[in-house]
């Protein structure tokens, strides 16, 4: 079952003070997210990820198209009770303490009064903020704010959690914790839709990902499928001080550094390359298959020219 259905969603901003120009941020996005999956929403800076999330949260109104969450139009009031949202670089009422903040959000989400305070305690524990429960948020570090942000997104036990770059600003440990948290939520059966440009996170967490660039979808699918669509490559390393011409003709550009030469080429050319190295009487050091990464896919996809002309970036 699809819990999020986006069809032909468009958004343009009008920019400029005196001379208004349209800046198209989203060009007819269509996307489906299934119940219970962790969905990664990838794209470089300015791709339109935040724009999409704000539209889905009803913070902005689309220029065209529509979207449904749990089968209801996004502006339907009931939708809001079943979603949680972590904005990018969240900022909260800094005069509140962490537990006051969560309490307030629980109130606004309609969590029954009796359940509120145990829920707040539990959430603070879950994101590791129990020690600072009674500290005002103005004294929080960026990472602590991010945690508080995640806590507020799930305080009301939503069915779908939208996270805009949940790992940004976190140290490796923090990132790890958020990853674990997302996995826990996944295990609880929630649907998680998160945007990121940190690809390893997406690779490890996501059931499916979508790649967005300049407001257009460049690919959607299961991570493994996306990767296997690319040809496998191998890296071959030998001792030497110069490139070997016959290896280069096979498509493996040789990189020389500190008497070590390395070249990456298609797997099908591996045998010919090894022969060439042997012929040159060089000492072979290693042959390793190169793991296809989302990053490669990502870079490849966003490098493609788009069909429609994109207006030049406008500085605001």
């Amino acid at each position: 079952m699809n819990v999020i259905e986006i069809s032909g969603l468009r958004k343009s901003y009008s920019v400029g003070f005196f001379k208004k120009t349209e800046k198209v941020a989203l060009k007819g996005l269509s996307l489906e997210v299934r119940e219970g999956e962790v969905f990664g929403y990838l794209g470089p800076n300015g791709a339109g990820k935040t724009t999409t999330l704000k539209l889905l949260m009803g913070l902005m109104f689309p220029t065209g198209g529509s979207a449904k969450i749990l089968g209801l139009d996004i502006d339907h009031p009931r939708v809001r009770t079943s979603v949680g949202f972590l904005p990018e670089q969240p900022y909260f009422y800094d005069y509140l303490t962490a537990s006051e903040l969560l309490e307030y959000y629980a109130q606004l989400s309609g969590v029954p009064a009796k359940e509120r305070s145990p829920r707040v305690k539990k959430m603070l524990g879950r994101v590791g903020l129990s020690d600072v429960a009674n500290t005002q948020l103005r004294k929080f570090s960026k990472g602590m704010l991010q945690r508080a942000g995640i806590a507020q997104a799930i305080i009301h036990d939503p069915k779908i959690v939208f996270l805009d770059e949940p790992m940004s600003g976190l140290d490796p440990i923090g990132r790890r914790e958020v990853r674990d948290l997302i996995e826990e939520l996944h295990d609880e059966g929630k649907t998680i839709f998160f945007s990121t440009h940190i690809l390893t996170d997406a690779e490890t967490l996501c059931d499916r990902v979508a790649v967005l660039n300049k407001g257009e979808l460049r690919g959607v699918g299961v991570v493994a499928d996306l990767l296997s669509s690319r040809g496998a490559t191998v890296e071959i390393v030998w001792r030497g001080t110069s490139a070997i011409a016959s290896v280069e003709t096979l498509g493996g550009k040789c990189h020389v550094a500190a008497e070590i030469v390395r070249a990456v080429l298609e797997k099908s050319n591996l045998d010919a390359a090894i022969d060439a190295v042997r012929r040159a009487k060089a000492e072979l050091i290693s042959v390793t298959p190169v793991q296809a990464t989302l990053e490669d896919f990502f870079l490849e996809r966003i490098a493609q020219p788009s069909e429609t002309t994109v207006p030049a970036e406008l500085s605001i």
Binding site: F61, P62, T63, G64, D75
Partner: protein, 323 residues
């Protein structure tokens, strides 16, 4: 779509309706409140009688405060005038405060003195205060010759003090840039000659120097009255000559016309023909139309001492422009 969205959400629609309704109701309510407290407002103004305090409270914007007091004075006068009040108790105080705050507020002096000087209900009937007030204007603004004119006018019209009037015009004529007519006025005053003529020049001048409707209407009414006075004076003169000549009193204007003395039936400023009395005098048909006239009043009747609805029509008919 974002435009199409406008007013689409139920909350927007409700808000739009509430906005319109509550704005209308609020404006109506404001009107009600306004009607409830005009007097309170003016008395409230005068709680603060000390210019020093007002100056302090206006944070140095005394010019602005003066304008506000001036507005209030005019409004107070207008309301009283409209209600045909006989007393204008607050007017002198309001005017004084106004010029305390801004001693150079020219219109306050010129209009204020006229408001003060004329008899009620045209004015507050306080010619002495008016003289004092305009003298103050002269002290504060000695280079403004028109204040001397106002002063002379008040002495002449309201106080019938020709000596003082002549003095005022004389003083005014010495101010640089003063209208040369000031000299003539002074001379006329000295001679006390041609009262109607002098009065007409004065009123015409007043009429032309202002846009203030109350003053203009009053000046026009006076000018109409002066014209009637003059007409009647002329007609009586002709009639006298005719009687001297023929030895008999005419029965109709026709006799004078056929005698070549008149060219047509003489009409008053409202267009009505003058009536010829049996003893050979010209009178107006309806003195209600002509307040302030001195001559041509039918026997047993009188000319009103105030603007009447009939006279207002005559003036609005605008057949008379000051000549």
């Amino acid at each position: 779509m974002s435009i199409a969205r406008k007013f689409k959400s139920p909350a927007s629609r409700v808000a739009a309706v509430v906005l319109v309704l509550s704005l209308i109701a609020a404006a109506m309510s404001a009107r009600r409140i306004d009607e409830m407290r005009p007097e309170a407002r003016l008395e409230e103004v005068l709680y603060l009688q000390s210019p020093a305090v007002i100056k302090f409270m206006s944070l140095g914007y005394t010019g602005l405060a003066a304008s506000i007091y001036w507005t209030r004075a005019v409004q107070y006068f207008g309301e009283k005038h409209y209600a045909k009040a006989k007393r204008f108790d607050l007017l002198p105080k309001l005017l004084d405060l106004t010029v305390d705050l801004d001693p150079h507020l020219i219109p306050a002096y010129s209009f204020g003195s006229i408001f003060l000087a004329q008899q009620p209900p045209e004015g507050a009937g306080m010619p002495d205060q008016a003289v004092e007030f305009i003298e103050r204007g002269i002290r504060e603004n000695p280079d403004y010759w028109r204040f001397y004119y106002n002063l002379g006018f008040i002495h002449f019209i309201e106080r019938h003090d020709y000596k003082a009037a002549a003095d005022a015009f004389e003083r005014g004529s010495k101010v640089r840039g003063a209208n040369p007519a000031m000299k003539t006025m002074a001379a006329l005053m000295e001679q006390r000659a041609g009262n109607t003529q002098t009065a007409r020049i004065l009123w015409t001048n007043i009429y032309e120097s202002t846009d203030e409707p109350i003053i203009r209407r009053n000046a026009l009414t006076r000018l109409v009255a002066l014209r009637v006075d003059e007409d009647v004076w002329n007609l009586d003169h002709l009639l006298e000559k005719y009687i001297d000549h023929t030895g008999s009193t005419p029965h109709s204007w026709q006799e004078l016309i056929s005698g070549g003395i008149l060219r047509g039936v003489p009409a008053d400023p409202s267009g009505d023909p003058y009536k010829l009395t049996t003893d050979g005098h010209a009178v107006v048909q309806n003195p209600q139309k002509f307040p302030f006239i001195q001559r041509g009043i039918p026997r047993g009747q009188s000319s009103p001492e105030t603007i009447t609805p009939e006279s207002r029509k005559v003036v609005e008919g605008a057949q008379v422009t000051p000549r």
